[in-house]
Each structure stands twice: as C-alpha cells, then as structure tokens.
Symmetry: C2
Subunit: 896 residues, 2 copies
C-alpha cells in the first residue's frame, strides 16, 4: 500500500514519487496510468504531463457515487498541470486541452476509451485559433471534441454526428475531412452543439470542469457496461477491480505537416522477429490511425520524413525494451517536430511470436548506451500463455467470417465440412469422400461411429461435459455444444431465419464456439521450433514437482499423448471401449442376461476385447504408468432410451429383443443418473464386471511382459464414498491380481487407488486412504456435487447468466472453484497424506489442463495432473509456471 | 479398560472382581455376562456359577481364527468351575453339566442362543442317571442335548430330530414327551447319535471339551449369520462389537415336581403397572416356557406351589429394581426347592409402559429392607425412546399378519383399505364411501388428489424422499414406497404368484414397511397421560437450548404441528401449494406463457391463492416464527412427462395445448433435475416468481396484523451456492418487503435467510453469512450431494446392499452421516457464526426428527430442529435427551 500521506489520495500525477516503480501499481493506477508514470518518473521519456485518478476512486464511485473529496483533489492536479503547461483549461485566449482515457489493470475493450481535446468551448476555441494562428485546426479540434464527447459521454448516437459531416463534405464537394475549410468546420461545430441540445435537452457543457467531471464519470460508469462485463467474464477478469482514469495534456499530431501520430511495437508482434514495427500518419490524431481512414505508413517511411525523430523513437524503443525486459507496444505523437510518448505497455502477441520472443530474449539483446539485457529461462516460460500454445497447436481459420450461431467452445480447433444430421448419414458421406460436420441435438453412444468420421461436431444442447464434448475433446475433434439458437428439424437446421440443409457447408471454430456459414480457409497447426524448446525448459523446472499425464482411452490417443509429452495415463476410461459400435451389442447382452451363465458368457466376450484395448494402451505407454478406471457410467447409458422405445411401441410395436431392451432400460433408468447407480456402486450390483475388467487388464500386462515390455498398471475405483466400499472393491481387484500373478517369480507391482470425486470422499480422505495406494481427484464430478450443478443441465442454461451477473467469478467447470471445490481438494490431499504420507495424488478432471487450476493443484501438493492429450503441452507449461510462481512469488505476465 | 493383569484376559468368572460394577462392562462381557457378574459379585443373588468368554475373544476369532491362548484360559475356568461345583465335566460317575449362551452387548435375535446340558456323553449320562437316581431324567437331558447341539452347533435340520420324537410318542401311544419312558428316551438318544453320524459323517463329539469348543465357536460364528446382520442393520447396531459367550453350571427345573422354571418381570412390561409379572412351569426347562408347549402359569399360581420361593423371588425383584433403578426382566429356575437366578436385564417394554414407568419411578418405589428409591426427571426422560412415542402416536395393527411384500417404511402408522391404481379411481371410490389404498409405480403431482383421499399409499418405486414419501409423511398418511416385488399391471398387481385386483383389501404398516394381504384390525393411537408429562419435562430441559419447529405447508398441518408442541415452522414448502389440483393449471399457465403479460397474469393468479394459503399458516402459528421457503423444485415437475406426451402423440396425436405442454416439458426437462435448475436458480431464470411469492406473503402478514394477530415471517432462499447469488435474491425479496411496509409506522421485522444444502454453501458459509439473517441446513439435499446419492435412485436400489455389506453403518438419509455430512453441518455452523456470531441456525431436513441426528445438531450449536408435525414430540424428547447427554456424558438407556 502507498504510505505517502496519512490519507491515501485518489489522484496521482504521472511524476508522483512512489515507493516502488510505478509499473508495479497497476492495481491502483491501471495499466495505462502505471506505465505513463513509469515513463515519466523513471525513464524520463518525453511524456505530456498529466495525472491518474485511481481505481480506488472508481470503486468508491461505483459503490457510493462521486466521492466528495475527489473534486478538490482533481482541482489541485488540474492547477498543477495548468502551471506546468503555462496554460489554463478553458482559457479564452490560450486554452490548455487534455485527453481523458480509461485505464484498467488489464486492457479491456468495451469500456469508454478516449475523449480528446477536452477543455475546448465556444470561447476557448477562438483562443486556440488565435495562438495557433490556425482557425481551421481549432474548429476541427472543437467539432471532433463535441462529437466524441457527445457520443461517448452523453450517449448520443454516432450517426447524428456522422451524417452532418458527410453532408458538409458533399456541400463542399470534397472527399476528405482534411479538405474542409475552417468555415465549414465552424458551421459543423455549431450544428453539433444543436444536436447535443436536441438529444439531451441541455446545452453542451461549456465549463471545462463540468466537461472533465462528465468524462471521468463516464469512464467510471462504463466499467459496468454490458460489453465490459461480458469481456471480463470471457477473459476471467475480476468484476471488482474498477478502472483508473488518465487526464493528460494534449499534444497535436494534426497540428501541421511537421506533426504526426503512430503506434509502434519494439518487435514484430505477429512473427516475433526482433525488428521494430509501426504504423504512422502525418498530420493526424491517434483516432485516425485506429479508424483506418487513411492508409498508414511504416517506420521506414516515417524515417524518410522524420529521420531524427525515427532515431529518437528507436532509442526510446530500446530503452523501453531494456527497462520492461519485454516487447512493448507504444503510442506516440510528433507535434511540430517534437516526439511525445503517449502510452506504452508490454505488447500483446500471437502464439508463434510469444514463443519466438521468449526464446530470443534469453539470448541477450542490445539495450541503450551499449548495455545489453536478457531474461532467464524461467522468465521465458512465464512469458508464454496457454492460449499461445493453443494457437500453434490447432488449425485456425485464416480470416474472420460471419458468425451464424454461438455455443460452448467444447473442443478447440477449426473444422469445415458438410452438414449431416445422423451418424449413419455422416458415415455414408464420409465414405463418399466428403468432409463431414455432424449436427445433433445432443449425442449418445449410438452416435459414436458418426462422430468418429466427422471433422467437427455441433450440438444444440448439452454442456462442456456432455457426451459430445467429452468424446470430441478426447479425440481432439473440434466441437461446439449447447448452441441453443440452432433449431434442428429433420434434415435441416435453422438459426433465426437462416436455413442450413443437409450437405450445406459450415465452419466451426471450437476454440471460440463460433459457427460460421460457408467454407472458411484453414491454416494448419504449425508449432514453431521454439515450442519444443520452451516445453523442454518447462519440463526441467517442474521435474519431480508436478507431473503431467494424459486422459486417454485408446492406443492411438495414448501414442498421441506420449508424443505431446505425457508421462503416463492418469485416466483410462474403460467405458469408452464399451461404447465402440462393435462392443455395444456385447455390453447389452451382459445387461440383458437372464441367467448367470448368459451374463458370464457376455462378460467373457467383453473381456477379450478389453484385453486387446489394454494391450494397445499399455504398449503405447510402455514403461510409464497407466491408471485404468473401472467402469463408471450408469448402465442405462448403454441401452436405447425408454422414451424412443415407448414411442416406437406406440407407433409400430416392438420386437422381442426391443421389448427386452425396454424392460432393462426401464429397470436401469434413473431420475438423476449422475448421482445414481454409477462407479463402484455398479461393482456392488454386478461384481463380475469389475473382476472381468481386472482380469483383462492383467492378461494384457502379461502379454506385454512376455514381449519384453514394461507395463505399469494402476487400477482405479470410481465414485467411492466410504472406506468400507473401497475395501470391498479393493478385495475384488486384489483377488484377480493374485490369480493373475500366481506362480510368477517376480510379482509385478499393481497399485490400487480411487477417485476422490464426491465431497464425502474428500472429507473422509483420512479413512479412505487406509485402503488406497493413490488418489485421483475427479474434479468434474466434485464440482457437480459441491455446487449441486449438473453440467448437462446447469452449464448451458444458467452459466452465462451466472457469470454475467457476477454470481460466479468463473465457470467452475473450466477453472477450479478455489473457495469451495479447491478447499475440498486441499482437504482431501492433506487428510489422505495424514494417514499415508507417501500417498500418490493426482487429478484427472478437465481442470487438469487448466493453468489456474494447475496452480492450485501444485499448492495442494498433488504429484501430477492428467488432462486430454491435446492439453498436455499446456499442462506442462502451466505446471512449470506454477512451480516458478511459488518459488518467486510472481505470477505470469499477461501477454496473450 | 481392565488392568487386573498385564495381559487382558479373554475369560472372566461371574465372580471376577472388576474395577467398576460389572454391569458397566457390557462392551466386554456382553449384556448377559455383565448382568450375571453383577448379580453374582455385587448383589450376591443365587446364581449358578460360571464364566464369560469376552467379546474381545470373539473379535479375535472372527479376525484370525481361534486364539491359541483361549484354550488354556477356558481350561483354567472350567477347572475352577468343576472345583466349586465338586463335579467334573464328562465325569462318568457324577458329571458337571453346563449351559452355553451367547450374550452380545445388545440383545440380538438371529444369533445362536443356547445349548443346555453340555457335558453329557454316552458314558456320563449313566453317571447322571446314577447320582440323580433318575434314569429317565438323564436320558431326557441327553437326547435334548444331542438334538440341540446337532441343530444349533452342527447345523442339522431340526426336523431330523423332531420326527423320531413324534414317532417315539406314537410308538409309546402317549401325547407328551414327559410321558415317554427312560427306555424310549435312551433309544431316542441312540437314534439321534446315528442322525448326527449320518448328517455330519462324524460321530457326535463325546469329549466335553470338544463339545464346549464347538458350542463356543458356533456362537462366535453366528455373529456373522445373515439374520444377525440383518437385525443389526435394522437396529443400527455396529457390526464390529462381537458377542460374548457365557458358560454356566446347569441347574434343572425339570428335575422333579419340586422344580420348575420361569421368566419374570419386576413390573408389567405391557402396561407399565407396578405389579410383578411372570410365566412359570413346574418340572420344566427354560426352553419349554419359551416354546409354549404347555400352558404357563402366573406368579400367583406359582405362589400356591412355592409360597416361600415366591416371597424370595419378589424380594429378588425388589433388589434388582432398586439396584438397576429400572424394571428388570429375569429368568429363574427352581431345582428341588432352591431358587436360582439364571439371568436378568433391564426389560424391554411397550411405548405406553415406558412412559408410565418413567413417570412412576420419579415418585419413589419401595426397595428391599425398608429402603426406597426414585429416579430424577432427567433420568425419566432418558428412559423413553423415539420408538415408544411412535407406538403411542400412530394406529397399530392389533396382531400379526402374513407379509405379502416389504418396502421402505416411508411414513409411519397402519392403514387398511381397498386397492386402487389411479388417483381418479381412488377419488371415485372414496366418494362411494370406501377406504382406499392408492397403489402406484410412483406418484407425481398429478396424483395428489388421489393421495389426499387415501388411507395409505404404496409405491413400487422410489426412495424415502420420493414424491409419495415426502407428501405422505407431511400429511401423516401411512406409506410404503419402493416395494420392488410389487409388479403393477393395469388394474391389478402381483407379488410372486399372488394377484391383488382393484377393490381387494390390503393392509399397510408404514412403521415397518410391511404389506399384508387382507384386513388387519387397527388399534387407534392413544397416548397415555404420561406422554404429556414426559414431553413437558423435556421442554423444560431443552428450553433455550434447542428449539423444535415443524415442516408444514398448510394451515391444517400448522395447527396440527402446534398442537403437538411445535414452536414455529422451520420449513413451509411453497411448492406444495402449487401442486394442489386447482393450482397446477395456473402454474402451467405461468410456465407456458408466451408473453410477459401472460406470465404476469398467471403470476397474479398464483399470488392470490398463495396469499390465502399464507394467511392460514400464519394464523395457525400466530406469534411463532414461520420460515417460508421460496419455490424450490424444477419447473418440469409441474408439467406432464415428455414420455407420456410423446407416446400419446404417437398413438392419437396431441391437442394444441398438449403440444405447447410438450414443448415446455422438453425445454425444462433435465438429465439430473435434483442438481439442475432448482431453488434460487429458478429465481435467476424467472425473477418475477420470487417477487410474487414475497408479495403474497407480505400481504398475508398485513391482513393478519389488521386482525390484531402477530405474524412472524422469515423468508428463506433455497439452494444457494455463493454469497453473490444470495445477495441478488435478497435484493428481490427486500424490494418487495420495502414496498409492502412502505408507510407503516412500525415496520415489522422480516428476516431473510438461506438453506445450506450444497456442500459449497457449507464450506463457504463464512461468505454466505454476510447476506443471511439465518441458515437452515437442508440435510436431505446435503446428504444427496455429499455422497452423490440420488435418493430416488440409490436408496431403494443400493441402500439395502450397502447396509447389509457394512459399506455404510446407517442409511444416511435417516440418521445423519456424522463423519461426512455432519462435518459439513458443523463447519457451516462454525463459519457462519464466525462471520455473524448471532446467526440463527436451524435444520429442516428429515434428520430434524431423528434422535441421533438431533444429538449432532445440538453439538453443532444449532438453535432449533424442524421436522414433520408427527415427529415433533419425538424431536422434543430427543432434544432434551441431547441436552442431558451432553451435561451428564451419558447416553440414553436402551429400553425399547
């Protein structure tokens, strides 16, 4: 906290002397304000003077309205600013003009951005014309100010200012605003004043202090605008931070031909190449560069007009990079031949650029005055975000398309194909050589063969753990789920008035959840060389501290995971083997069995196919541990739905087989299957099932050992709630293991553990640990039960509203809920280890691939995280970042 | 723990000197052994000598087989016994005979009971004949011993001994065993020996030590017999206690006409009257009294034969009562004119007797030697069990019937009526004046009008929180749910081969879950005068420590609850008002509304009827707090089922209205409604709903205040998971309250609180308390989520297996799971009070009426429990018992 005075002030000049470098005060000053202060007071760069109204003031305003003491503080700082500039706000002869900009801790579109030229009024505009001897400039500035203030602060529609401007150009018979005369601009300004009067019922504020307060309040209020809130939700930014406001003396890039304005990057933000890059316009204000009205020029071009200034700018760039030890993004203005730096920040970059810069900067870079600087490998690791890796790992669309619908981004990557509505149609189309997008209301095991051949999957219902989402994520197939505006009707779907028929082409962006009509061009995934370098460095950092495994159910997935750096399998879901089209009938035989002999025969058939599956997986993970979870889902998931059968019965009657299936489906149907007869409870109902699975697993391991391989098997019991339950299940498993290793000279070490996925298991982990060799926290289910949120129901229906209304800071299924679920994970880890200090602990929920959650798991003392193969690189990086954060106390820099 | 020697022995003689009174060593000696030791070593009553093999030995045996050191200890005690009796086991001239009896801490049918006459063999029987000069007696004893040992220890079918006995009687042409000659009995004994050889392949053990070890092992093993386990599950007795074994010198009530045997109660166990009561047989062994072969005589009659012994026995009774300070149950034997006490224990008693004795004993009773004794009121309270109150509160069947099927005992009490299978048929029948039992697969809101007119409800599916169970319990209607053997098929049901047609009479015992074919006679509920006395004393004890409220949803229920002693309503479920037949259409209008206007109109209609409901309830609870929970269940519960509509659509097509209902039902259908869009989440989806409810509630309160009443309103938000959620909902509620009290001079104090029913809410109770005036723990849902047990699915399918296999010690929906859910309740209470020390805490799950759970809630510091009206007396008693237990450290005596 600041301790400069007894009462912490609300307003700080850029040159305020802080106890620590101002760039560390982003919480208080916002990013923009902190960096302006850093440039002014530490780097001594040419920055127009000004002051920052702190986020404290914003929070106070949002809670209780305009703080009384704020007026006085602002007045004091305005007075100082006027003194240092030798001009006064609203002075009718030589007015000071200021810009007002928002600046939150994190850059945030959707908030009020900028008001320029504040301080002009119908009197001072004349003074400006006089002192600049440029009436045209003065009225151009005034009309810009009125329009900007009217639109942004007073909420008047922009078109009401645009149309008169167009009309003025037409009247004058010119194409650009720059060609309008002073007279035309004065008339326009008068017209704008009338627009404001008409729209607001009040005259345009003429007193600069009223203008200033209006602009500041508008910034404060925009913090809670709908777009800003939505952005914070998406970017996981806290709603309680508030924004700062920066008030800065204006400099004019549109003063004359010896002036200009631009944005500059100290390196190329797209490629990462160590070459400065910028866009520049002569005789223009900043908004012109952003608006793209005129074609900008690059820095080389600028150097032709302003060779001295270019040298000065490149020196500033070097100083900034050397100071921030990172690529910086800047805005600058040249006013009548003098360079002014308007703002800077550590620049955003693409995934490829992030990787390249991070590696490059460890090699040493020339700074100002013959110095040089470099970053450590740890710092390099901290410079790369999960999103950066995602970008280079998945194909992306080459451009932007028109979004037809939006759903939950269930599995990242981009896909293009023809729409089909049934699994069978999808398979037929694929056999004809078409690229297929499968569109379903939701998917079930019966759709798996169609999902398998699809480029991408789109569902209208379901959450991020729905069947479609989980299966797609497991395979790395792009998928969007819960796109509620998609209405499927036979072999077409509609979104609003748009109809998409079977065979029409759509494009899915599984990273953003966007459905695009028509064919988008794809860019293949192409991780640069630095990808492997950074991940190898990350592995060194996290080695022995936090392992990374993958969730994989097939040999192919396992191979894929291993190639991406997985150090084992943390979750092999055996039900996925049951769902394969050739297995499902056998599973049904088992469920429908009328006699023990029939059941035993069906189990024996399943055993054979399971053994083959296990062999593939163990072979792919040779020498690395493979955690096999025994069957978990409720049995009715393997049967047709009761409703479908009942409807068919009403329509056409049922075959004998279908009648048997109906009976079984009704018997096994549950009101709340997610908290029904699942997991180890299945084992209690059908003990032969688990025995069969262990038998298959042990036989697979034996086959591999015979081939000279080193299978490492861990058997995991799902959904345990009591020690006694685990002891019973452990007994079944141990019996099969003992049978399998009987007579072996060297007994393989097969460990037996359990998922911790009910709140009770976490609370009573002390008891459960007595029967477990390891725990794996199933944070998906743990989140469902801790909140009482059924993902399939709550996530698509409630979550958007919950996030937007701030009822939850994050979607707890994406990032672990630290205060609730996270506390249970920590409790479970602590109590488990209290009983058994060497207890191995892992996590295999989807949180295992989420960087922030990984950080909590590291804190909780877990040995490894396990995630879908495609998240393994991200998990390796995030694990290293967690380790570094905890040893340095610093978290990752935001550069995505 | 015993510290008599360094190694704690496995065997203790009855006269062993313990550090504390032997009756306190029931854990170690079992109930029977402890009481035998008490009578022997403390009371110095005439008890045949013997010894007890401890439960430690049993546990050791069950874990690791026969403990090696046990042989030696038994041998030592047998030697001492032989010495004190001056006879030896198996002595061919004058043999010592012993009885071997099981004796666990709690009396437990299903375990091996008794083997008499052990020590006889084909040699010693002759010695016995010789020393008693009674060959007939000796061979009668021998044949009894072989049969008993063969049946109980060797597991031979009883019929194999019964048939030869019948044949012998026929051969001899006599009617009773007593008439058989010595010769006939000897032949019979030889025959029995042959039966044993044939059935076991081995000769009958002739060595007394083998006999003894066999009998002891049989007792140990019977601890884990199926019936014993089932009994422990039902009676909530731990599976790890083990049983003790008592070996005692035989005395013979069948010695001659100067002998006899009997059972005696120090008071009347049926009525509680302070008059000793007993059954007696001359010249008989104990088993004859129990078997009921001959008609027994009472104590008066016995006094005619044995006036001295009767006086002696009554003196023993007085000494026992005075010593145990309670009614005792005894077994005694007279051998040739001498009285022997074979065992005693505090006697079981009916509900009415328990109440009467408890009150009587506070008044003072004459003891032996002109002393007198009495118990305190606290002790009296501790003498009455919940089951005792249940017995006197609900009608009971007058006798025992043949059980047709068994289900979950969902709502206590007995009911008789004609079977109907639809709600409409039930209503028609009731209008014809019939008594109705509604039988359904499961019930839904559409069945409510039929349930309302039924004497009892039987469902084939569903758990203890299914719709049928909850509604029936709320009304006090007897109900059995989840009776899976009941197969409903149109207008009949079958159980196995028995068919029950519409209109057939069945009887339901909702206290035991038994369905009985035909009409059982009912005894009305008739609480004796002592019922009120005990409960008033209980109220005094718990006053200011633990309040008792009721869960009630109608004025009638509220009145009922108040009459039963409820101090307010802890849970008024507003959805029950929505489900009434005249309300359901209006609720559907609201859900189906296409426009805001339609929705508002439907809400307005609901508001009016809700207001009337609230007025009734508030009037019934005038001056006492009423906690109204805003709407909780998922909306699809108010709609017809999708499947029914889809089937109807396939069969006959749907009306326009039905199509609209189908669309809505599909929209609101959920995969896991229990953890879906419920509770406060509904408020987020349809904010007008909660506002309407609060408006109705406030209007009702205003109406009552206008009548001079004192309504006390508490508004409760269900299913909260975050502080922010509660703050939002609190806002809606507060807005309506503010509107309602605007302009009032004296603002009524309406508090706003929340259910704590998700694990997250309990964990983050510190934050949630910031927005809550009170918490009410919803332990039903909390149990569902903590375990991941959907009651509707798991309870009927898994729970019996889980309890029998010891995977759970109790059904956690009946008695709170102390280690898991209980810990969350304690954590929630502690964290809530850490934020707000005065936070009012209650519980409104069904555990609120369960004595053991009430004990935990008192420990957790809760202010009140709330339960269904019919459980209120039980809760008042249990609350007082919890208070007394915690102040004295003693828990309730088991006298049920």
């Amino acid at each position: 906290m600041l301790v400069d005075s007894c009462i912490v002030p609300y307003v700080y000049s850029f040159s305020h002397k802080h106890r620590r470098p101002p760039m560390e005060y982003k919480d208080l000053l916002g990013g923009k304000g902190a960096n302006l202060a850093e440039m002014t007071s530490v780097l001594k760069l040419p920055v127009p003077p000004g002051f920052t109204i702190s986020t404290d003031a914003c929070r106070a305003y949002l809670e209780g309205g305009w703080p009384v003491e704020l007026d006085e503080e602002i007045a004091k700082h305005v007075f100082q600013l006027e003194k240092s500039m030798g001009r006064k706000l609203g002075d009718p002869f030589d007015p000071l003009l200021v810009s007002v900009r928002s600046g939150a801790k994190f850059s945030m579109p959707g908030m009020m951005d900028t008001v320029l030229n504040l301080g002009l009024n119908s009197e001072s505009v004349k003074g400006l014309a006089h002192v600049t001897s440029d009436e045209r400039f003065a009225y151009d500035s005034y009309r810009r100010f009125i329009a900007m203030y009217g639109r942004i602060v007073l909420g008047i529609e922009g078109a009401l200012f645009e149309h008169p401007l167009e009309a003025a150009r037409e009247r004058a018979g010119v194409k650009t605003d720059a060609e309008l005369s002073a007279e035309a601009l004065r008339t326009l300004a008068d017209h704008y004043l009338a627009v404001v009067q008409k729209e607001t019922g009040k005259p345009f504020p003429q007193k600069p202090r009223d203008q200033l307060r209006g602009a500041i309040e508008a910034v404060f209020s925009s913090w809670n605008g709908a777009r800003a809130i939505a952005y914070r939700v998406r970017e996981k930014i806290g709603h309680d931070l508030g924004t700062a406001v920066n008030v800065q003396a204006m400099v004019f890039g549109n003063r004359d031909a010896n002036s200009g304005t631009g944005v500059g990057f100290t390196r190329n933000a797209a490629t990462g190449e160590n070459v400065p890059y910028g866009d520049f316009l002569i005789n223009a204000q900043g908004e012109d560069v952003v608006a793209g009205i005129r074609n900008t020029e690059d820095l080389d071009h600028m150097g032709k007009h302003f060779p001295e200034i270019k040298r000065e700018l490149l020196d500033v760039f070097r100083r900034l990079e050397s100071h921030y030890r990172d690529m910086c993004d800047t805005e600058f203005t040249i006013e009548q031949g003098k360079l002014w730096m308007l703002q800077t920040r550590v620049g955003k970059r693409t995934g490829a650029a992030a990787l390249r810069m991070a590696v490059d900067m460890t090699k040493g870079t020339r700074g100002p005055d013959r110095t040089s600087w470099k970053i450590t490998r740890e710092e390099a690791i901290m410079r790369v975000a999960a999103e950066h890796l995602d970008q280079v790992l998945h194909p992306q669309f080459a451009g932007k398309g028109k979004v037809l619908a939006k759903g939950l981004a269930a599995s990242p990557g981009a896909a293009v194909g023809k729409v089909y509505f049934t699994a069978d149609d999808a398979v037929d189309a694929e056999e004809r050589g078409e690229k297929v997008i499968l569109v379903r209301s939701e998917t079930s095991p019966e759709d798996v063969h169609g999902m398998m051949v699809s480029q991408g999957i789109l569902t209208a219902r379901g959450g991020l753990v729905s069947h479609a989402a989980v299966v797609a994520r497991g395979w790395g197939t792009p998928a969007i789920v819960g796109a509620e505006s998609v209405k499927i009707d036979g072999k077409k779907f509609t979104v609003g008035t748009v109809v998409v028929n079977e065979g029409d082409i759509i494009s899915l962006d599984g990273t953003t959840g966007e459905v695009i009509l028509g064919e988008m061009k794809l860019e293949a995934a192409k991780p640069p060389a630095e990808f492997d370098i950074i991940l190898k460095w990350a592995d060194v950092v996290r080695k022995g501290k936090l392992g990374v495994r993958a969730n994989a159910d097939t040999g192919e997935d396992a191979t894929n995971a291993r190639n991406l750096g997985a150090e084992g399998i943390g979750l092999c879901r055996t039900e996925h083997m049951f769902l394969a089209p050739d297995r499902l009938p056998v599973v049904r035989e088992m469920i429908l069995a009328n006699t023990e002999a029939e059941e035993a025969a069906a189990l024996e058939n399943l055993r054979k196919v399971q053994q083959a599956d296990f062999e593939e997986i163990l072979e792919a993970m040779d020498g690395l541990p493979v955690t096999v979870r025994l069957l978990d889902p409720p049995l009715h998931e393997f049967l047709p739905s009761v409703q479908e059968l009942r409807v068919k019965e009403a329509k056409t009657g049922l075959t004998k087989r279908e009648l048997a299936e109906l009976k079984a489906a009704e018997e096994w149907a549950e009101h709340n299957p997610m908290i029904g007869t699942r997991g180890v409870r299945l084992g209690v109902v059908k003990p032969g099932l688990y025995a069969m699975q262990v038998k298959a697993l042990m036989a697979a391991a034996a086959t591999l050992r015979a081939k000279g391989k080193k299978p490492i098997v861990e058997v995991m019991i799902p959904l345990t709630v009591t020690r006694e339950e685990l002891a019973l299940a452990r007994g079944w498993v141990q019996t099969e293991i003992d049978l399998a290793v009987k007579g072996l000279k060297k007994k393989p070490n097969v460990t037996i553990g359990t998922m911790i996925e009910t709140p009770r298991a976490a609370i009573r982990a002390d008891e459960i640990a007595e029967e477990a060799d390891f725990f794996s926290f199933g944070t998906n289910d743990l989140t469902q039960m801790t909140f009482g949120f059924s993902r399939d129901d709550v996530e698509s229906r409630m979550m958007p509203a919950y996030l937007e209304q701030g009822l939850l800071p994050r979607n707890p299924f994406e990032t672990i809920d630290v205060g609730g679920v996270g506390e249970l994970v920590k409790l479970g880890a602590q109590r488990g280890r209290a009983t058994k200090p060497g207890l191995k602990l892992g996590v295999c929920g989807e949180h295992g691939g989420d960087p922030e959650s990984i950080n909590l798991f590291y804190e909780a003392g877990l040995d490894y995280v396990s995630c879908s193969p495609f998240r393994v690189p991200i998990a390796r990086l995030a694990a290293a970042q967690a380790v570094i954060s905890h040893s340095t106390g610093k978290s990752r820099t935001d550069t995505k």
